[in-house]
Structure formats: C-alpha cells, structure tokens
Amino acid sequence: MNDIQDQRRNFLKTSVGVAAVAVAPGMLLFNVAHSKSEAVSSDVRWGMLIDTANCAEGCKDCVTACNKENGLSGGLAPTDSQWIRKIEIKDVSAGRSFALPMMCQHCEEPPCVDVCPTGASFKRADGIVLVDKHRCIGCRYCMMACPYKARSFVHEPLHNQNPDVPRGKGTVESCTMCVHRIDAGKQPACAEACPNKSILFGNLNDPASEIAKKLRTVASVQVRSDLGLNPGIHYQGM
C-alpha cells in the first residue's frame, strides 16, 4: 500500500517537474515578446502633430528609421513598400515650398477599414489602423480607397523579417505607428529619429498631454479634412 502511495507521489513529482520545464521557456518567451496583457482602451487616441516649418527639405531620417525599424528594404521602385515618404510641396501661386512626411493618417473613419471585404483592415481601440496579415486576401481595394496613398502591397517574397513586425507576400501593409514600440511604452521610430523634433507623438484624448496642449495653441490642419475622416495625424505650418 505504502509502495503504491510512494509511486503515486513520485509520479506526481515528476509530472510537475516535467510540466514546469515545459512551460517555463514559453513563459519566458512570452515576456521576451513584450506582449501586453491588458487590452488597449479607447480612452487613448494616439496621434501626431508634425511641424512642417521644422521639417527640413531633403532630410529623410524619419524614412530611414521607419525602414530599419520595420524591416523594409528602402527600395524606391514602384513595387517597393514605402510606409512613410517625404513629400516636397510647392505653393505655385505664392512660390513657397516646404516638405512633410506622409504616412497612414490613422483616420477615425478609415475608408480602408470600410472597404476591406474580410475585416483584415481594422482600427484598434486606441485609434491605430492596422492590417491583419492572416486575414488580408490581397485584393488591394484598401489601396484604391485610401485618400493618402499610404498603403503598399508586398510584391515579392520576403526574407529576414523583423519578428516584431510580421509582413507577408501578397498582402497589403502600411504604417503601424510602430504599434510594437507604443505597446512597449516607446515612441514611434520616425518621431524618435527626427533631428528637429518635428514629429510630436502622444495621446490626443489626454488634455494634459503635450500634443493636446500644443494642438490647442497652434494652428494645425488635417490633410484632406474635407473628406471628414478625422485623421490622427495633424500638420502645423502648412
């Protein structure tokens, strides 16, 4: 009888040990992956205020930082992905010229989300517009619908991807506002890389945030505000 109890006890001990050995690396990897346990909340709306007066013509530091962070090739062929680009703008009648970075504007009413047949294009509760790579069928309707031409289609097989930023051949992608960095409490790569601090990132819903305060005091515009999409990206000095 005691023998049987000992055997049972040993069996249980071994089982618990094996289970611990099996689960521990997974737990460790879960932490390594920086996954956030709590869900994002609509109390937050992430956005940016871009000061075009400070954005130097010819400077591409934000573009370079984005490419590096997200594992993009940086190629400029019409089939290459460009999540952020610098647009040189000229007011022909006044003769003034300036430049600004253009990327997904993370609209409150995103047309890409409306038109997506599978719901692969979606908006997180905190306002970040993303593409679920496992649901995207590659129909490109969102690219047709985006008023900012902010989306790219992956035209070629991909190699050496950044594990934090999964991409997929045959699917559509765009600026994620560096969601993996935001979830880890960091700034988007472009905002961090700008040498003139022209990209101010923050919570538009928090009246005490620097971005909300600045939006109250300076004149800013949303690109194609006539479309009524309420983008999360604001531009100052246009």
Binding site: A77, P78, T79, Q82, L227
Partner: protein, 400 residues
C-alpha cells in the same frame, strides 16, 4: 429523301464538326492551362512579375474580370425581356442568355480570385464578412446570381417547373440590377479619386452591361446558327440589331454625361484633360478604341449595313466588345494613372509617385490570366450548348 451521296456528305460534315468541337475545346483548355501557369508564376514570384505596382494596383486582370462580370449581367437582358415583358422571341433565347451569364460570371470571378495576393484565402470574405464593404456585398450578389440563374434555367428546361419561370425570371431581373449596381459602387465609393467617386457610375455600368451583354449574345447566337446550318429569321435579326443600337447609344450617353459632369468641376479638369486629351495611350484608347470602334463603327454597321445585315450585326457586336475592353482599360488603369490629389492646389513630388503620372505596362502573365477567364467562359458555353438544348427555337415570327 436523301440520296446515299448526300447522306455521305452529311456524315463527313458531322464528323468534321465533331473533330472541330474537340479541337476548339482543346484550344480553350490550353488557354486555361496557360492562365494557370501564369497564376502559378504570380504565386511563386509575387505580383512583381505583373505590370501592377503600388500606384496602379488594379491592372489587366481587372479589365477582363469586370468586362466578363458586367456582360454576364447584361446578357440576361435577353432573358428578362422574354420572361418579365413576355416577348416571345426573347423567351426562346432566355436559356442561352442564362447559360452565357453563368459562363461569363464564372470566367470573370475566376480571374478576380486568381489575381488576389493570397488566392488561397478566397473563401475568407464569405467567412469573415465585413458588412460595410461593397466587395463583401458583391460576394453575396455573385453567389446569389449563380444560384438564381441556375434555378431560372431549371424552371425553363424542366417542363414541370415552367410555372415558376416568370417568378424566378423577375427575381433574376431584379438581382442583376442590384449586382451591376454593386459593380459600379466599387468605384463610386472611392471618394478621394478624381476618376471615380460618382453616383452616375452604377447606372452607367448597368447601361454598358446592356450593350456588352447583347453584343456577346449576338456573337454566340450567330456562331450557333452557323454551326447548325440554320438561318435566323431576318425580322428577328432586325429587331435585335435595333435594340443593340439603342443600347449602344444609351451607353454612350451615360459615358458622355459622366465626363461632362467631371468637366464642369474645376478640380477635375486636370483629370479629364489627361483622359481625353494629353494622357498618351488613354485618350487614344478612349477616342479610337471606345468612341470610334465601340460606338460609331457599330452604329454605322447597324443602321447602314453595307456588307449585308447578318455580317454587319456580327461585326458590330465584335466592335462593341472590343470597345468595351478599351473603355475599361481607360477607366480602370487610366483612372489610377492620374495622380491622387492629396494636396489640392499644390504642386507635389515624392519617391512614391506623388504628383506624377504612374506608368503601367501589362505583363504576359496578366494577359494570360485575363484570357484564361475568357477561355473558362468559352469552355462552359461550348460544352453546355453541345450537351443540352440551348438552341433558340422560334415559332414563325409574329411581331408582339
């Protein structure tokens, strides 16, 4: 009574036709195989081997697919005039019209699905249905159309079901209007693009579908009559030809109104100038391909049949189809080639084609895929007309 020699010649002709049928089928099969090869290449290399890019996101496959889908809806006009409006000569042609509709819808949808970046996920829109997406609505509209047209064919071809023909015919009539509205809405909902975002697009596509569908119907019917050594009653031919002429004029009217409204808006003048005047291939295709070949030539052939009525009607139909392709090329590809106006009133440039006309050269893979869609429609039609009785059976013609 037939003499032995005439029986012999009939037998030889039958044997020849039998061989010809299999040869045509094999040719269609080869085209489908070539299209599948193109799909395989696009799957393994990615869309980089097509002419499409991040500026021209929809290309040649979409021209073929949309033509086939729009014509699939329009060809049902023949059936509707028969079953909804009770015209006998159209009633006799309703089964063939329904067959052509199913065949073209299959071809068009196959092209659309095989062009997807992830064709393996083509079932996802049905599973993860997004109710705000007009693409997702179209999934329902296309599958519903298949179901309804098959049911319609059943009610027509099975005598016991004949009592339901009118009811199902009315349902098909309504459904195809909604379906083509859905196709037009794909573009009408693109508010930011100068070429699209107009409420006139759905009705324009409906009227275009009448002309394209009727033209395809007429071509197929002519081949079937020739194959069976039968003559179409000239009175019937005249009636259908004139209806085709009216459809052509109506569709041209819709296209004119679409461009005229754009021309009236100062902010769309640049786009219209590009499409109608200085956009290179696009104005050339619009004026020569669509206006001249797709409208003026067929109208001339219909109303001034110098070559004889039969030949002229077929030539007009072919010209309408070719004009339709030219129109869609300009509409779909030209519409994307003109730069998106993100900063109205400003001159812009970037590394991503802002402010520049996008260039597009279709690759052989896209063209093969498009022809694959036509071949699928061809195979479904040829096999069906051989195994089932789709030949129109006219009673002596009395105007109704």
């Amino acid at each position: 009574m037939s003499t032995p020699s005439s029986l012999d010649s009939k037998y030889v002709s039958l044997q020849f036709k039998n061989r010809l049928f299999y040869m045509l089928l094999a040719a269609g099969g080869l085209v489908v195989l070539a299209a599948l090869y193109a799909v395989h290449m696009m799957e393994s290399h990615g869309h980089i081997i097509t002419g499409m890019n991040n500026q021209i996101v929809w290309g040649m496959p979409h021209v073929f697919a949309i033509f086939l889908i729009v014509a699939a809806s329009g060809v049902l006009n023949v059936a509707s005039i028969g079953s909804v409006f009770g015209k006998a000569i159209y009633k006799a042609r309703a089964p063939l019209a329904s067959l052509l509709s199913i065949a073209m819808l299959s071809g068009g949808l196959a092209v659309l699905m095989l062009d997807l970046g992830r064709p393996d996920r083509f079932m996802l829109p049905a599973i993860d249905f997004n109710p705000t997406s007009v693409f997702a609505w179209n999934v329902v509209l296309y599958s519903g159309m298949f179901g309804l047209v098959i049911a319609y064919l059943w009610t027509m071809m099975e005598k016991r079901m004949n009592v339901f023909t009118k009811t199902v015919g009315i349902a098909v009539f309504a459904w195809r209007f909604v379906l083509t509205t859905g196709t037009g809405l794909i573009f009408a909902f693109l508010t930011a693009r100068q070429a699209y975002g107009s409420a006139i697009l759905p009705p324009m596509f409906i009227v275009l579908s009448f002309a394209w569908g009727m033209a395809v119907f007429h071509m197929v019917q002519t081949v079937m009559y020739a194959w069976n050594n039968t003559e179409l009653d000239p009175a019937i031919l005249d009636r259908k030809k004139h209806l085709l002429g009216i459809f052509v004029m109506a569709s041209l009217y819709m296209v004119v109104v679409y461009h005229m409204t754009n021309l009236y808006f100062a902010h769309r003048m640049g786009f219209e100038r590009f499409i109608l005047l200085d956009g290179g291939i696009y104005p050339a295709l619009f004026w020569w391909g669509y206006v001249v070949l797709g409208n003026i030539v067929p109208l001339a052939l219909i109303y001034m049949p110098a070559l004889g009525r039969k030949k002229c009607a077929v030539a007009a139909s072919l010209a309408i189809v070719l004009g339709g392709f030219a129109f869609l090329y300009v509409f779909i590809i030209g519409g994307q080639a003109y730069p998106l106006d993100i900063f109205p009133g400003y001159q812009v440039s970037s590394t991503f084609g802002d402010g520049q006309i996008a260039s597009y050269t279709p690759s052989i893979y896209e063209i093969l895929l498009g022809f694959g869609g036509l071949a699928i429609a061809f195979i479904i039609t040829t096999v069906s007309v051989r195994v089932l009785n789709f030949m129109p059976h006219d009673k002596p013609y009395i105007a109704d």
